[in-house]
Every structure is written in C-alpha cells, then in structure tokens.
Amino acid sequence: MNTVSVKEAFFLYVEDDASNRTVMNLIMEKAMGARNLVIFEDSANFMERVRALPKCPDAFLLDIHVHPYNGFEMLKQLRTDPEYRHVKVIGLTASVTNEEVEELRDAGFDGAIGKPLNISTFPDLMARILKGETIWFVS
C-alpha cells in the first residue's frame, strides 16, 4: 500500500464528546492541513455507516468509551469484515494506565494515542501511522 500523506489521507474519527470533536477538527485543519476527516458522533450502525463512506478510511481513530458500541466492539466488527480486516485502527483513549493499554494491544489495535492530545506531536504520530508504524503514545 502506498503511503498517503497526512494532507491527502482520509481519517474517520468516532467521538461522542463535542469539545473533543472540535479539538480534532481544529488540529486536523490547522495543525496538519488535513482535509479529509469524517466524524461519527456515536457508533450506532457503525459498519453500515463505514460501508456508506465514499472510500475506505486510511486510518480509523476510535474513542474507547463510545455508545452503543465501544472501541473494542467497533474494532471487532471491522476485523470480522474481510474488506476492513487490515485497516489501521488507532484507539484514542483517556485511559492511560498500562493495563488499559495492554488491553488495547491484546484486542488487536494498531496503536493508541492518549488524551489529551498534543498539538506538537500529533501530526508526526499520524504521519508515522500512515507509514505503517505501530504507535503506542499515551502520554
């Protein structure tokens, strides 16, 4: 798979907290210059809405404490669908203890980034993720 630049990449973000959605929108637009961001405000009919997207996202950024499906359940739905089995799925979590990060790793996430996000490091982390790196950056 060719590496997509941060600016060209298509991101899907699932987040139920409005202020966090604002932050992500601003970081993507102002700090990264990324234009292709879709945000789901909840995880209802998650797979149907994913399939309805114009194209498959280059990276899925999933908040963990989302309803009705949490981050782990969304990941499982993606991994059981052959079309989405290999997409990059990153957990965006405010739960940053090692036990919690271990759970994400064991569940099969491709990485995790802890909240609060850091404007200085976030664009670089996204670039590395798009290159195929596995990133565990929770602090």
């Binding site: 202020s19 102002k30 404490h65 739960s95 090692n98 036990e99």
Partner: protein, 648 residues
C-alpha cells in the same frame, strides 16, 4: 548307626547313600545264609556217617560170606573155585578188591585195587574148626565222596535262591510299603515347606505312617492358622496406616475447611470400617464444641439436633476427651455411665474420642463410633491418635488460612478500589483537559485567528496551569502505582531511541521559547534498538529536561547520550543554580519541594517517579551538582533486557 547319626545331623554334607531296602536285604541274607550253612552241615555229617556205617556193614557181610563160602575150596586148594567165587563177589556193589591167603599167609588169590579211600575187612577161613586161611575184602568209599559234593552243591543252590529271593522281595516290599508312602509324605512336606500352607497329607494305610501324616497335618493346621492370623494383622495394620496417611496427605492440601472435614470423616469412616465418624471444632470463647462434619444420613439429622455441645457436658465422651485433652476409648459403651446415648446412632457399641491438639491448643475432637464391641485396639488407637493430630494441624492451618484470606481479600478490595478510583479520576479529568489544553494552545498560537500579545500571555498562563494539572494527574497515578509496587512497564522490543529522543525534543522545545537558553544535543549516532517502555523512557527524559529548563535561566541545557556497549548512558546537564548538598539527599523523596526559597511550579513527584522508572528498566539514576555551576542528572538503561525488566 550312621543312618541315625546323619538323620540327627541334617547339616552334615555327607548325605546317607544307604537305603532301608539294602540294609534289610543284606542283613536278612547274612542271617539266613548262616542258618542254611549250619543246618546243611549237620545234615552233611549225619548223612556221611550213615553212608560210612552202611559201607562198613557191607564189607563185614561180604567178608563173612566169603569166609564161609571159601572154607571148602581153600581146604581143597581148589584155586579155580576160589577164583570164580572171588570174581563173583567182585561184582557186588562197592566191592573193589578181594585177597585170599592160606594158613601160612601166602596169597592164593589177589585182586588188588588202586583206590586210596577204602574200607578193608579181614576174616579167617575155617574148616572143621581149623583155620585154613584168611580173606580180605576192600570196599570203595567213593560213594561218600559223591554224596558230599552233592550235598555241598545243593546247599549252595539253596543259599543262592534264598538270598536272591530275599533281595527281590525285600526291595519290592519296602518299595511298596515304605519307600512309596515315604516319598508321598516327603513331597507333601516339601511342598508345605516351600510355602504352600494349604498342603495336607492323605491318610496312610499303615498305622505308623498314618501317625506321621496326622501329626504333620495337625502341625500344618497350626502353622497355617498362625500364618493367616499374622497376615491378617499385617494387612489390617497396613490398610489402617495407608488410610491414615492418605487422609493426612489429602488434608494438608485442602485449605477449605468445610470441604476438608467432610472428606475426612467420610474417608475415616470408610477406611476404618466404622459406624460413624465426626469432627467437633472447639470454640474457645463459647467453651463449646460445634459439630462441623459427620458421616451418614442418620447422623446428618443429628447435626441439626445437637449442633453444639458444652465442653462441660456430662455424660459425653466427646466433652470428656476435650476437657481432659486425652483420648478416651470405650470398647463397650453399654456398660458406661459416661457415654452419651445418641438416638440417631442406636447401634453404637464402641466409641473412641481423640482430641485434636496443636501444641497445647485444643482445636477440636475426632469422634469415632463402631457397631462392634472391642473395636479399638492399641494399634488402632496409636494410628488414630496420630491421625487426629494431623487433622488438628490441618484444621488450624485452614483456620489461619481463612483469616489470612479474609484479611488479604479486604486489602485487595481496598487496593482495587483505590486503583479504580485513580484511573477513573484520571480518565474523567483527561477528557476535558484535552479540550482545554488543545483549544487554549491553538488560540494562543494564533491558529484560529489573530490574538493580541496580552491575550497570548494570558492564554499561555492558562496553558501552563492546565499542563500542570495534567502533570499532577499523571504523577499521582504513577506514584500510587509505584508505592503499591504495581508499576508495570509496557515493554516493546523495537524501541528506536533516536525516534523517542526526537519526540522528546519536540515536546520540550516550547518551554525554551521565552528563555535565553540553548538545548544542546550531543547524541551518539549508533544507538541500538532496545527493549523498553517508550512512553516511560520519554517520560524520564521529559521530566529531567523540563526540570533542567525550569531551573536554568540562561546558558544551555545539554542532552548527551552515549552508547557504552552493554548500556546507554543519558546525561542532562544544565548551567542553573545548582542544588545544595542538603537538598540533594531529599529531592528523590515524594512531595519534597525543591530549592530553598525559589518557588517553581511542579508536583514534587517528578524525580521519585523518574528514578523508579529508570530502576524498573534495570538502570540507575544519580546526580552531580555544584552551586553556581549547574547540575547534571545521569541515568543508564541496559542495552539488552536481562529479564529483570518490569520487576519492582
């Protein structure tokens, strides 16, 4: 007598080769031969002397007849007649020689004989009362010689026939009446001796042998009975011991008391073939024995009825055993006034009570009932006493274990609640801080529109406070983990230190912006890929660098990283105030505010956490400082994970 001697000294290696048959036949033969020879000799002498007498009579008769017949011819000197007569007589039996002499002694007729053994008779020949000559007759004794040799041959053949007959018949008879029955006896005895204690001898035809057989059978019965008794005793003891040891073995494994006691009474009852087995546990405060486990359905009903028993209860062997702390064995309870009749166990005939003691502490009582009188022998009591001790120890262990279990469960629960509280607090605070910090920063940076210098200043102050709050949250979370010994690393095997150092530099650069301060990087280009926790390694560096920047107003902060083969040495060197020696000792302790009189923002947790993180990676952290010159913090990280990483 050698046979007898050998028989009485069976260890003698010269086993007798003589047999009864041979000895008997030989002796019989000798005795009979002597008798036959004696009788034969008597017969021989009688016969020979008879024959001699007969021959003598013949010779006398012949010579007297001749003297008469020859009277006239000799008178007449009629030689012809003389010769004829003589020849006629020579024909007679046994007569071998005749000689006729005249009155002058000249021979008129002579028929000599060359035989040696002769009977010779002489008679005068008379005529008219006048002796005219004499006649001499020789009779042969050859007949006697023949007779002698005949008798000898006869005797010899009789001896031979008798001896042979005796040999054959004794051998046969002994074989039939002695050897065969003896070998039957021998085989029976041998088979018994080689361990077949059920072997018995058949009745014998002969009285003497039958006595042997009966005596042997009687002896065999005794031996077999004794052997069976011994075997049974050994088997009983072995079984009891193995039950006791299997019960002991099991009880040391089980720590759940309820399960333990129920298994135990069931096994004891089953194993020792008892009527009932129960365990009472002593409650020291109440001075009561509570029935904790008992066997059988009937006894279960009793459990409800008599659940507790005062240690002072009378009559009760259980209470008595507990009071006196000694075993009470009553092998016939019908006679006893101390026995407490249990209506649910009407068939009890013997009761044995064993106190379960650990040292001098009474743990409880093992109570056993049997439907037989005299059930509990000395040996049983020994085994059961030991068993009761073992059960006591196991119960004590289980009691201690359950107390411990409760205590540690409570501790765990408290600890869990604390961890849970901290991590949910952390989570709940981070979500709003994400918005506060990032929106603040973007506005302050002018990313969403122009801001005045004053606005920017205020926003940056707000940002510093927010970040301080975040740092506080992180540090409290970390220090609580460290203090609980629960700090765990999230270890990855492919940590590229150059990447992590770059990230750290990006993170701390904003702190430098308002100070005339340079961040110098002096980093070896050949740093290895190591195993470690990226986030914690970054945290160590961020802590040390931000501390250095915080406490240095001008000059430089230098990050130096050296590849030292087996470890990587990191140094953060500043040109700040330096740390007084008395403060150096305490800055690694939590919640100690640094630097006399100089108030700086910080949680006071950074350095203790940093040191713990370094040590969790298997490295070391230390410092050097000189007032007015600056401070250097150094730490090492092993280049290879030696397996101890993550241990606290």
């Amino acid at each position: 007598m050698t046979t007898v001697r050998n028989a009485s000294f069976p260890e003698d290696q010269d086993f007798p080769t003589r047999t009864l048959a041979r000895d008997l036949a030989l002796r019989l033969a000798i005795v009979l031969t002597i008798i036959i020879v004696a009788l034969g000799s008597a017969y021989f002498f009688i016969t020979v002397s008879q024959a001699r007498s007969e021959l003598l009579l013949q010779a006398t008769n012949r010579v007297e007849e001749l003297s008469n017949v020859l009277s006239i011819p000799v008178w007449n000197l009629d030689k012809n007649s003389i010769e004829q007569i003589c020849q006629a007589y020579l024909q007679a039996e046994n007569v071998v020689g005749v000689r006729v002499l005249d009155d002058t002694g000249d021979s008129i007729y002579e028929k000599p004989t060359d035989e040696a053994n002769l009977i010779v008779e002489t008679r005068p020949i008379e005529f008219n009362g006048q002796q005219v000559g004499s006649v001499e007759v020789s009779v042969s004794t050859r007949q006697i010689d023949n007779l002698r040799s005949n008798i000898f041959l006869l005797m010899l053949s009789i001896v031979i026939v008798v001896v042979v007959t005796i040999l054959i018949s004794t051998w046969f008879l002994l074989q039939r009446f002695l050897s065969q029955p003896l070998s039957v006896l021998t085989m029976g005895i041998e088979s018994f001796a080689s361990g077949d204690y059920s072997q018995r001898l058949k009745p014998m035809e002969q009285k003497e042998l039958n006595i042997i057989s009966e005596q042997f059978n009687a002896m065999a019965n005794q031996i077999q009975a004794r052997d069976q008794l011994l075997e049974k005793r050994v088997a009983d003891r072995t079984r009891d011991l193995s039950i006791a040891s299997s019960v002991s073995r099991q009880i040391t494994r089980v720590l759940d008391m309820d399960e333990l006691l129920h298994q135990l009474v069931a096994q004891t009852k089953e194993g020792f073939n008892l009527y009932a087995a129960s365990v009472y546990i002593y409650q020291p405060e109440a001075r009561e024995l509570t029935l904790e486990a008992t066997t059988g359905e009937e006894t279960r009903q009793m459990t409800k009825a008599v659940k507790t028993l005062s240690i002072d209860a009378r009559p009760s062997l259980v209470a008595q055993g507990a009071r006196e702390q000694t075993q009470i064995v009553n092998n016939d309870v019908s006679e006893s006034k101390d026995y407490l009749v249990d209506p649910s166990l009407p068939d009890a005939k013997s009761e044995a009570v064993f106190p379960m003691l650990v040292g001098a502490r009474l743990i409880g009582v093992l109570d056993l009932l049997s439907e037989k009188t005299d059930r509990f022998s000395e040996a049983d009591i020994q085994i059961l006493t030991t068993l009761a001790e073992q059960i006591g120890i196991a119960v004590r262990n289980a009691q201690l274990y359950s107390v411990q279990l409760q205590a540690s469960a409570e501790l765990r629960r408290a600890d869990q609640m604390k961890s849970q509280f901290l991590s949910s607090m952390s989570h709940e605070l981070r979500t709003p801080l994400n918005a506060i910090i990032n929106l603040d920063e973007m506005v302050a940076r002018g990313m969403v529109g122009p801001v005045t210098d004053e606005q920017k200043e205020l926003l940056e102050q707000s940002l510093v406070s927010s970040q301080h709050l975040l740092q506080l949250i992180n540090d409290v979370l970390d220090i609580s983990k460290i203090q609980a010994g629960q700090l765990k690393l999230f270890v990855e095997n492919n940590v590229n230190l150059h990447d992590e150092i770059n990230t750290v530099v990006i993170m701390v650069k904003p702190l430098l912006e308002k100070k005339p301060l340079e961040l110098v990087q002096d980093i070896d280009s050949n740093l290895p890929i190591i195993a470690g926790d990226r986030r914690r390694l970054r945290q160590i560096l961020v802590n040390l660098l931000s501390n250095a920047i915080k406490f240095t107003n001008q000059g430089a902060v230098t990050l130096s990283v050296r590849n030292q083969e087996d470890q990587i040495k990191f140094s953060v060197i500043d040109t700040g105030y330096g740390i007084p020696i008395e403060s150096q000792a305490v800055i690694f302790e939590p919640f100690v505010q640094t630097l006399d009189g100089i108030k700086q923002e910080g949680t006071g947790l950074g350095l203790p956490i940093t040191r713990s993180l370094v040590e969790a990676h298997g490295g070391e952290l230390w410092m050097e400082s000189e007032i007015g010159v600056g401070t250097a913090f150094h730490f090492t990280i092993p280049a290879e994970n030696n397996g101890r990483m993550g241990e606290k």
